[in-house]
Symmetry: C2
Subunit: 457 residues, 2 copies
């Protein structure tokens, strides 16, 4: 990058906030997707004014600016533009205040999800979004991609658990959206619009989060089913009664087989598995689990195990734990999509995926958050084999088309980023996309904030 | 209105959808606020294409178009512009489908909240927003003002319970926002932006609602406190544990005195009253109420009554029921504001209101949804007395300033409309208002949709 440009950023932000070394830039060029790019500069602000200054300079010089939390995104949303700028929020990591009586916390975007949970625990509170990456992903990143996790089925995802945001727009203006209260009917709600916008509208510099009281105890039961249909009927029964499970996860037959045969889990053969968690008062948990087991029971249910001890609980988690390493050992390449369909359409989707696996000759493994209809479809392929790679990519395209046909959506919690961008034009009408582009233009008139993401070309 | 204009609308929408009689227009010129105006035309479409045609014609002739559900709004948001057009959605009142397994319902905007609840009951489901006007207010109106109600403390308000919207923008384009699934991280979320926008961005023509399983039983306990502070401490205890009450209402000392002395309720003197409702399985409700009573108990608690029978339940509601007629008999004028402050700031707000009552010589009565910090402040005055009227208006201004100083917001569930529009510039920074105006301009470039509402001049 031009020496004068670097000097301009150093003057505006202070030299300590500007990295241009090739090794530093390399470390900020990728996320948890398969995409990567080489930024020319990394900015690490500590104050809101520095964020504003960075945006104004980037705008002046028409340089693309990609926001970054901790780079755990799986769709390439936090991968910069080649030779562009990364603005990382890792140094803005203060928990500004926790107000237990108001059930709110005010945080900077760089606070790690796990660190926040630890700070909330002494107050008996938690913040519901619980992505697998919680210990090392940032709240700002959670907001950017509308992160979810298994407990979203009861407590909602990020968009349901943020009350107010301060953010810097693409013109460097500081705006404040939402209110620090759990009800708000004043003016246009722009806070939910920023959530899930992948850093393409404004850079979040402060968030007021909605907290929930932490249940004193949690316990899980495991249910095995003859087929996906009978498991889905159990899900319908479980979701139609008021004691919403705090987790409602599933594995399809392929996932189960892999967990047993490759992962070594001690688990019988079955058409589908449900993990059903309840939370609440420890004294009432056994009764709650018995009630949940009653709803899980029904035609096609092969076995229900309610573990008594913590050791037994851990043993039941074995299938889930065995699955990830099993997948890794299976093939070098994995396309992991987090599509969502209406809950009643999950069996149809799983049948479609089974047919797709037969037709393509690839192993495709489905599991995920069935209470929300959020299915992680993993298409396994050999990276070194160009034919298999192309087949896997074609499978992803067919999957998206089917998901949309079933009334679903492209992403439940991972976002669009680079990976699903080509499919946005199938998911939304031209009029709707025009409106989204208008919103982008309004917040970021020069298109410097995370360009080439989210919206299709 | 010009005869040729009327003919143009009749050609486009059909004569049966166009009313111009002075009596018809009169009936659509007011809502549940003190504002009124005389529209020149009322349109009552039955199909989306008619809504699009109406917007296109209104745009061509630069005529203001105000959306109307059933006119129960209390801030004037559904009062038309003088000689403008009302577009009423009462004939688009079909429940398009109910999908119990997906916990969703798809409805036209004119469906009444109460009719939807009745249709959902056989499925064991309900839609959480429960404004007092539920039997005769429309879902479209609930969406326009982000309606809440007492049960929002546990289940959220309208914005938390809508998944997807179809709407017609100010240019007549049909757009579709959100997804029909409980998780969605695809693209910019414009559905939440429309919720609470008071018909100023787009006209909602279809909504996919998020439903909840209906608890089999509900019961309430009544707790009396020495003062507002000890009641607020009980609220903090109740909200810090996971069994969130399904209602958490309060009355201040003035409200209680009125209910007893004017309304004739059999209730002891106290500094504050809480009504605490629990819901769930009938077999477990007594235990839940005992637990909630335990949290309600504490320093300053004078009395807790857990009613055993339904008759006793009804008796406990007496104070609340006595309050409304008592207020009506007290004075001819009432300014009813639904401000919100962080829950911990409710005692400070109530103290401020008491001081304001002393200083102004007016009776001011506070009650409302304390679990959300949502306080209905009723300033009572004699309408015939110009001095008292001016004093009451000045009180409202002082109240808003204090609410904002305490970190609160102008409205929890009634919206901004005409009534609170002048205070928006105090509530939001100029940069934030500029962004809101940009959004308005994007959706409605000619400013024909409900002009002169929500945003300040």
């Amino acid at each position: 990058m031009d020496r004068r440009l670097i000097a301009a950023f150093e003057r505006a932000l202070g030299a300590e906030a500007v990295l241009t070394g090739i090794d530093d830039c390399l470390a900020y060029g990728y996320d948890n997707s398969s995409y990567r790019a080489n930024p020319a500069m990394v900015l690490l602000p500590t104050r809101i004014e520095q964020v504003q200054a960075a945006v104004r300079l980037a705008r002046e010089y028409k340089l693309p600016l990609t926001a970054r939390g901790r780079g755990t995104n799986t769709t390439g949303a936090s991968v910069p533009v080649e030779r562009g700028i990364v603005i990382g929020f890792e140094r803005m990591d203060a928990i500004l205040d926790i107000a237990p009586g108001d059930r709110t916390a005010r945080v900077q975007p760089g606070v790690l999800n796990g660190d926040l949970q630890a700070a909330l625990a002494p107050h008996g509170l938690f913040w519901p979004p619980d992505p697998t990456s919680a210990p090392f992903c940032s709240i700002g990143g959670n907001i950017a991609c509308n992160a979810g996790g298994p407990r979203a089925v009861k407590y909602g995802a990020t968009r349901d658990n943020v009350l107010a945001l301060k953010a810097v727009t693409g013109t460097g203006e500081l705006v404040e959206f939402g209110a620090r209260t759990s009800k708000n009917a004043a003016g246009f709600d722009l806070s939910r619009l920023l959530i899930g916008s992948e850093g393409g509208l404004a850079l979040v510099v402060e968030a007021t989060l909605k907290l929930s009281p932490k249940p004193a105890a949690r316990a899980m039961l495991r249910a095995l089913y003859r087929d996906m249909e009978s498991a889905a009927e159990a899900v319908a029964r479980l979701m139609a009664q008021p004691d919403t499970p705090s987790m409602l996860e599933f594995m399809d037959a392929t996932a189960l087989r892999l967990a047993r045969e490759v992962g070594g889990a001690d688990i019988p053969d079955a058409g589908a598995l449900l993990m059903i968690e309840g939370d609440g008062d420890p004294a009432q948990l056994p009764e709650l689990l018995r009630r949940l087991a009653g709803f899980a029971q029904g035609d096609g249910c092969l076995d229900i195990t309610i573990p008594g001890s913590e050791a037994e609980q851990a043993q039941l988690m074995a299938a889930r734990k065995a699955l990830s390493p099993a997948l890794r050992s299976l093939a070098s390449g994995k396309i992991n999509e987090d599509v969502v369909v209406p809950v009643s359409k999950v069996p149809a989707l799983v049948r479609f995926v089974e047919a797709l696996a037969c037709e393509s000759g690839l192993t495709i493994v489905s599991f995920g958050h069935i209470g929300n209809g959020n299915v992680h479809v993993n298409v396994m392929y050999d990276k070194a084999d160009a034919g298999q790679t192309a087949t896997a990519e074609a499978c992803a395209g067919k999957l998206f088309a089917e998901v949309l046909r079933l009334g679903g959506t492209l992403s439940g919690e991972h976002g669009i980023g680079l990976a699903k961008r080509p499919f946005m034009a199938q998911a939304f009408t031209p009029e709707t996309l025009t409106m989204m582009r208008g919103i982008k233009q309004l917040f970021d008139p020069d298109g410097i904030l995370n360009p080439c993401k989210t919206l299709p070309e």
